[in-house]
């Protein structure tokens, strides 16, 4: 019997995703456990495995379709020799005899056919607008809804498609009004949309404030050289980033008031120090987590960070590897920047922006000396952390970095 393959929920919070790639084609035989497709969620690409064996009879949702709600049929699995149905069992049940009814005579019959145009993506549209669009031959996804929650209404159909059909997802208000030929329109990936939504949310809802400090790195760099020289056969190679993650974790232990999360009713103080490290990946960034970083050795942190970064770039992180975390570190040291301020990654209350270490003139007593100095900027949620506490934490961090034996004992 034909069965529907449904859009899986790959994490507890997943409500929709993008069908990134089909790894099997119509007609291919599949056995239970075969990877048949890749799904892109807001954070990662994950694999869909077949649960049953059979033949991939029909692909209902093509590659590249975004925003597919969980549990939407994406393909039909049939048994060997079985006829392949046109539609999923769900769709077949929803629109019974529409096709056979003396076609096109009643408006109701015409309306019943319209959902087939949707290509699996949920479009909010009033029944009247759906029917009018159908009658005028306008594809619903070419329209911009002006009703509540972007619902497409009669007036939107009357206004007609907003953008050429080749770029149906163009923004409602064009950012620039240059002529169409000079604009290359790149549809936003699921990840771009999530970054846009979450960071806008953070910047508009979380009252950020920023505190910067200059930290001398020479002692830390010297320690790093010694540690790496001691490593046998390149069994590990500790980076400045690894050391900074550990330093940040220790500073959070020392000044735990920054290892918090604000909610309307209460402020959560975390026992564990789980550091999210921002990793840039081709289409955006992701923040895999080093859990209990305060209790791990530099070597463990180093090995774990490398593995996480590698798998992050390949889009192969598991949800629990990037969801959670109590504090973030964003390191742009490798880009030669003097300083920058990062946006808090909600619901966390703080993020440390680490800029490049560079030789600068410093004053010691009344002498000018040369030291390797790095500017670090803390962004904090003022609802949970006040200025003095932020400053205290930065001083603790500087103390640890400038006396790096803290990192190894």
């Amino acid at each position: 019997m034909a069965t529907d393959i449904l859009m899986p929920a790959l994490s507890p919070t997943m409500t929709e995703g993008k069908l990134a790639r089909w790894l099997k084609a119509e007609g291919d035989t599949v056995s239970a456990g075969d990877v048949i497709a890749e799904i892109e969620t807001d954070k990662a690409t994950m694999e869909v495995e077949a649960v049953d064996e059979g033949i991939l009879g029909r692909i209902l949702i093509q590659e590249g379709v975004e925003g597919i709600p969980v549990n939407t049929p994406i393909a039909i699995l049939v048994e060997d020799g079985e006829a392949v149905p046109d539609a999923s069992s769900e769709q077949a049940a929803a629109a019974p005899k529409a096709e056979t009814a003396s076609a096109e005579t009643t408006p109701a019959a015409r309306a019943a056919k319209a959902p087939a145009e949707d290509k699996g993506e949920r479009i909010f549209v009033s029944p009247l607008a759906r029917r009018m669009a159908h009658e005028r031959g306008i594809a619903l996804d070419a329209l911009t809804g002006s009703g509540p929650n972007g619902r497409i209404l009669k007036r939107d159909v009357e206004k007609g498609p907003a953008a050429p059909k080749t770029a149906p997802k163009a923004a409602a208000t064009p950012v620039i009004t240059a002529s169409e030929e000079t604009v290359r329109r790149v549809p936003n990936s699921t990840m771009r949309k999530v970054i846009a939504r979450r960071l806008t949310e953070s910047k508009t809802q979380v009252p950020h404030f920023y505190v910067s400090i200059d930290i001398e790195l020479d002692a830390l760099l010297a320690l790093r050289s010694k540690l790496n020289a001691a490593a046998q056969e390149n069994s590990f190679k500790i980076s400045v980033n690894d050391m900074m993650i550990k330093a940040v974790a220790l500073a959070l232990k020392k000044v735990p008031g920054v290892n918090v999360q604000f909610t309307d009713a209460e402020t959560l103080h975390f026992e564990n120090v789980d550091i999210s490290m921002a990793v840039s990946i081709p289409d955006g960034l992701i923040t895999p987590i080093i859990r209990n970083a305060d209790r791990k050795s530099l070597r463990d942190i180093s090995v774990e960070a490398k593995d996480l970064a590698k798998r992050a770039r390949a889009g192969k992180l598991k949800p629990e590897e990037f969801q959670g975390g109590t504090f973030s570190v964003s390191n742009m040291g490798m880009f030669g920047v003097r300083d920058f301020a990062a946006i808090i990654n909600p619901p966390q209350a703080g993020i440390l922006a680490i800029a490049s270490g560079e030789k600068r003139a410093v004053v010691r007593g009344s002498e000018i000396a040369v030291a390797t100095v790095m500017t670090a900027t803390l962004s904090v949620d003022h609802r949970a952390v006040d200025g003095a506490l932020g400053a205290e934490w930065l001083n603790a961090l500087r103390d640890i970095v400038q006396n790096p034996y803290f990192l190894v004992v």
Binding site: P107, A111, S126, P127, L128, A129, R131, E135
Partner: protein
């Protein structure tokens, strides 16, 4: 107490008090200035007290119909002062409820008259006076004017409080006028005509237009006229009321109409000939706020020509209905709060008249739909074919639907009969959600209900009704 707020609302009627409550919900600090009574006209001198009176009169009518239901009672009588007393106490109770809600929402209320007195920086200033004496001055970046409206006075037909009544006198009679002339047949005039007729007065309605209830579909107007005439009312359309000659306890006049001249002597006259906005002494002069025929000109989000000043409800123009005022309040405040409310679609505002029979409608009448260029499909279903209506003894009624033939859009719905004011919301939901005939036909209506006539009137426009 600070004198600076996020929002000042002027007027505490269903426009103003709802605006204040919603703004408080959205986290704004709100001041509400009300000169007389919370709840405005609606709760104190409009919607609610008239519904209380009409309820008494309906029961009075039913008492005279007891035989139809196999019941009997002797010595049926009424005490007008108690009927009026009940209406007044309900109005008081509702007004008190509003004061409580405002307090709970932490709205700062001011007792006095408000007037705009210019800007101070970004803020608008509002001066408050009580009985001519200054109370205080407050300011806010946003001010909503919700000062409402009052009955229009026509030259020669001015109300005098004794023989010639406005709505207030008409809802607080000391004795029942034996003979009554109602000038104007909008919802307010018709409701008073219905109340007094049910209580036993001889009622004449004079309407200058060629039909009563001019806002309704002509077919419904005609059905209403027939029903009222059957109850014994005299209805004169195309009427020109001559000078009102007052003697000590009666008024005589001559009414000219296409059917000839009628000399009439009555005990009381009720004047219900339209509405004028309360725009006086608000400090509008010298601002960019425009006033057109006593109403403040606003856009789809209730914004006036002056940035930061808004007008909602009766003072911002027709339809003069409490639910329109409250709906504008919500969308205006949400817009101020940076949300994305939808502008109010005038054709999605239902209108109700609580006479016997009741009248309710939404959207375009058949003739207006045709005039707007629609090819229409019209459905009708009479109450006489509805089981529940027959069981209730309420067989006088009609539901009429107007659909666009091409798209199936419900262009309008028009109803007359028992309970239609409670039923019209079904069609309002259909219009707001842009449902077509397909969804209405698909909907399962409970049986037996008078609402089934709404289903049948939809079927009647398309495949044909089942029960007729």
């Amino acid at each position: 107490m600070s004198d600076t707020f996020d929002l000042i609302v002027v007027g505490g009627g269903p426009g103003g008090y709802v605006a204040a409550l919603r703004a408080s919900q959205l986290g704004m600090s709100v001041a509400l200035v009300e000169s007389t009574h919370f709840g405005g006209v609606c709760l104190n001198w409009g919607c609610i007290p008239t519904k209380a009176l009409l309820r008494s009169s309906e029961i009075h009518h039913l008492l005279h119909e007891l035989g139809t239901f196999g019941l009997s009672a002797d010595n049926i009588s009424f005490d007008l002062s108690k009927i009026v007393g009940r209406s007044r106490s309900i109005a008081r109770r509702m007004g008190g409820g509003i004061a409580h809600l405002l307090k709970k929402a932490k709205v700062t209320t001011f007792d006095g008259r408000a007037k705009l007195t210019g800007r101070s920086g970004e803020a608008h200033q509002v001066a408050i006076t009580k009985d001519g004496a200054a109370v205080t001055t407050i300011k806010a970046p946003h001010v909503i004017l919700a000062t409402g409206a009052r009955g229009r006075q026509l030259p020669g037909l001015e109300t005098d409080g004794t023989l010639i009544w406005g709505a207030r006198e008409a809802m607080t009679p000391q004795e029942l006028p034996k003979r009554l002339l109602v000038i104007g047949s909008g919802a307010i005039g018709i409701e008073f005509a219905s109340f007094y007729r049910n209580m036993g007065s001889e009622v004449t309605i004079a309407e200058v237009a060629d039909r009563i209830l001019i806002a309704e579909d002509p077919e419904i107007s005609a059905a209403a006229r027939k029903a009222f005439e059957k109850q014994g009312m005299t209805i004169i359309t195309g009427a020109k009321v001559g000078p009102l000659n007052k003697s000590e306890n009666e008024v005589s006049t001559t009414i000219e109409s296409p059917k000839g001249k009628i000399d009439l002597t009555v005990d009381r006259v009720i004047c219900a000939v339209g509405i004028v906005g309360n725009v006086e002494d608000l400090g509008l002069e010298g601002t960019k706020i425009q006033v057109d025929r006593t109403h403040i000109v606003t856009d789809g989000f209730c914004r006036t020509g002056e940035a930061g000043i808004y007008a909602i409800g009766d003072v911002a123009g027709a339809p003069w209905l409490a639910h329109k005022a409250s709906h504008e309040a919500i969308l205006c405040v949400e817009k101020i709060a940076g949300r994305s409310p939808q502008p109010l679609h005038p054709l999605n505002i239902p209108g109700c008249t609580y006479s016997r029979p009741q009248i309710a409608s939404v959207g375009l009448s058949e003739e207006k739909a045709i005039a707007a260029g629609h090819k229409v499909k019209v459905g009708r279903f009479p109450f006489i074919a509805n089981g529940k209506a027959v069981a209730m003894g309420e067989t006088d009624g009609l539901v009429k639907t107007v659909f666009d033939a091409a798209s199936g859009e419900l262009l309008g719905a028009h109803m007359i009969g028992a309970e239609v004011t409670e039923m019209i919301q079904g069609y309002v939901i259909a219009r707001t959600g842009e449902l077509t005939e397909a969804e209405l036909i698909e909907t399962v209506f409970p049986h037996p209900t008078i609402s089934e006539t709404m289903h049948e009137a939809t079927l009647a426009a398309f495949d044909g009704p089942l029960h007729i």
